[in-house]
Symmetry: C2
Subunit: 341 residues, 2 copies
């Protein structure tokens, strides 16, 4: 572990008060903290592997600091049961998450989806009775690396207001598609809220106003005060289209069993639909056509001043390779908090 000096020429700005950790150091720090919070070694490893990957890909809020959020959440202090398949057919599985955190539950659901899709050609797997949905692209990449096409959506606790409503009714509801190609996984992952909830929390922490037209306070009144919005919610992205997508994802969460734990249709539900491309296009045709498609998009003529056409997930994966060498930058205060958990 090395405390770095400002002004280094590395990928991440090493601000004062930050620490740079190698992947091994970050993993060890996270493992120690999670074991102290009460996770088994196997569960702690599943969580840490994702958090380190999130940080490597450049999603700072989704990295090791999430352990502090997990440790602080009241659900973490409630009883947990092992993740369990409660209903299945050759093409499907319904999983009771046993009040385990989403990092573990969605991981187990992704494993089941891989197993079923490899055997049957296609699978639908849902999981419920969980909290925190993790980064969808992480689970989808795991599936895509098995040569499968994946769709993944997660419903969550209400934070988003339908247009015209004065109270949140939808989660930030991410949606993700992943495709294998001869050049590696190609993944598109997005939230359907106009702002990530972590961004609202950060604005509140820093006392900075939110952009106009995004936030609503506890009474449903438009507000730019992030602290007030934390008690209310945000608009969906993209107006009625974003609302419709978020609405559909919440329904997919119901299909994943969201209502089974607490009778509440607007709760966490993780849904995976996985297809073996061989059942559609025999041979490795899909993977090679996918590569050709990416090549064609990248080769398009560009607007003046544009250096490259962006392909979903390409930048995050490139940054991951660089940070594997250069390490992850994290606030020294977070490191101290994790050590004293």
């Amino acid at each position: 572990m090395q405390v770095t000096t400002p002004g280094s020429a590395r990928l991440d700005a090493d601000a004062p008060g930050t620490v740079r950790l190698s992947v091994a150091e970050a993993s060890a720090l996270g493992m120690g903290a999670l074991l102290r919070v009460g996770y088994s070694g196997e569960d702690a490893q599943i969580i840490v592997d994702q958090l380190v990957d999130n940080a490597l890909c450049g999603y700072k809020f989704a990295g090791l600091p999430r352990i502090l959020a997990i440790a602080g959440d009241e659900k973490t202090r409630k009883q947990r049961a092992p993740v369990k398949i409660v209903h299945e057919t050759p093409v499907s599985a319904l999983i009771d998450g046993g009040n385990n955190v989403g990092y573990i539950v969605a991981y187990r659901a992704a494993e089941a989806a891989i197993r079923k899709a490899k055997a049957a050609g296609m699978a639908s797997v849902g999981a419920y009775n969980s909290y925190f949905s993790g980064r969808n692209a992480y689970f989808v990449e795991k599936i895509v690396r098995e040569g499968l096409v994946a769709f993944h959506a997660s419903s969550a606790y209400p934070r988003v207001l339908p247009p015209g409503a004065a109270r949140p009714a939808l989660g930030t509801n991410p949606i993700c598609f992943g495709f294998p190609s001869d050049r590696g996984p190609v993944i598109f992952d997005m939230g359907t809220a106009s702002l990530m909830w972590g961004e609202v929390m950060l604005h509140a922490h820093l006392g900075e106003p939110l952009p106009e037209g995004i936030g609503f306070d506890e009474q449903g009144r438009p507000s730019r005060d992030a602290s007030a919005v934390l008690k209310g919610g945000v608009a969906p992205f993209g107006g009625h289209k974003g609302y419709g997508l978020s609405f559909a994802i919440q329904a997919l969460g119901i299909l994943a069993g969201a209502a089974l734990a607490k009778g509440e249709v607007r709760d966490y539900g993780f849904l995976f639909w996985v297809v073996d491309p061989q059942v559609m296009l025999p041979g490795g045709q899909f993977q090679s056509q996918m590569s050709e498609y990416v090549r064609q998009i990248k080769a398009l003529p560009r607007q003046p001043g544009v250096e490259a056409i962006r392909i979903p997930s390409e930048r995050a994966m490139r940054e991951r390779e660089r940070r594997r060498e250069e390490g992850i930058v994290i606030e020294a205060k977070v490191v101290e908090s994790l050590k004293t958990l």
Copy 2:
């Protein structure tokens, strides 16, 4: 058939030069035209049923005038072969559309998806070698009325420019989700372009400028001239998120066989993923939970001045019921053109 007078109190404004047709009259008009274009009675019926339904739901451009577009398209004059399954497993089918119009090909694909999902619990069906994708919600409603959950996406001819590109590379790529509920089907359908291509054509026809920031001409330069944009393309909706969705849908089109007819990865592909909710939630749980979810959204407190929270597809289905009684308004010139086809 009755020529109506302006100023009637009916649902649709009956402008001068319009004609109001009953469903039976509209169907007979469409059937006659399609038979003269060379379709069999069975194929003509499949097309007309959808076009009349589109008009009933209020999608004017997607109604009988589409027959003129079908008749005028060069692909309609090329040879057609019967729609045929070329590869299948218990959970999947790949369909060669035989250069038939999308209304027929996607209809047959939806039928295959229903059959497979009922037998296996889940199905993935793709279709290619077709053109014009029809209204996705129409096919999805057909599936949902069998008690199934449906996802449907269509890739198409390039009309949409990725951010930073100077040439279109993506179709207007609609995406659609459908859910059965105790109150009937709930369907969300959207295009991923910033403007429907039919709207661009209408603006060009009327000589009206497009909104700022949407259109690009043949050289990829920003343009508000709709006629110039017809030779170029439009931006995706919702910035990078809309681009990512459109990108993913084009990839799903490849999975549906888009490249198999002409070796072109950016062509029409219709993909259906259908799940029997019973394989996820035994009993009729999904349908009743879906109804409860819709009820909760509609019951939310509202912003001042808002009369109702909108539920996807609710308005179109209500308008359909009214127009079934009141008839469809169509331009007299279109009626004449259809009669002389």
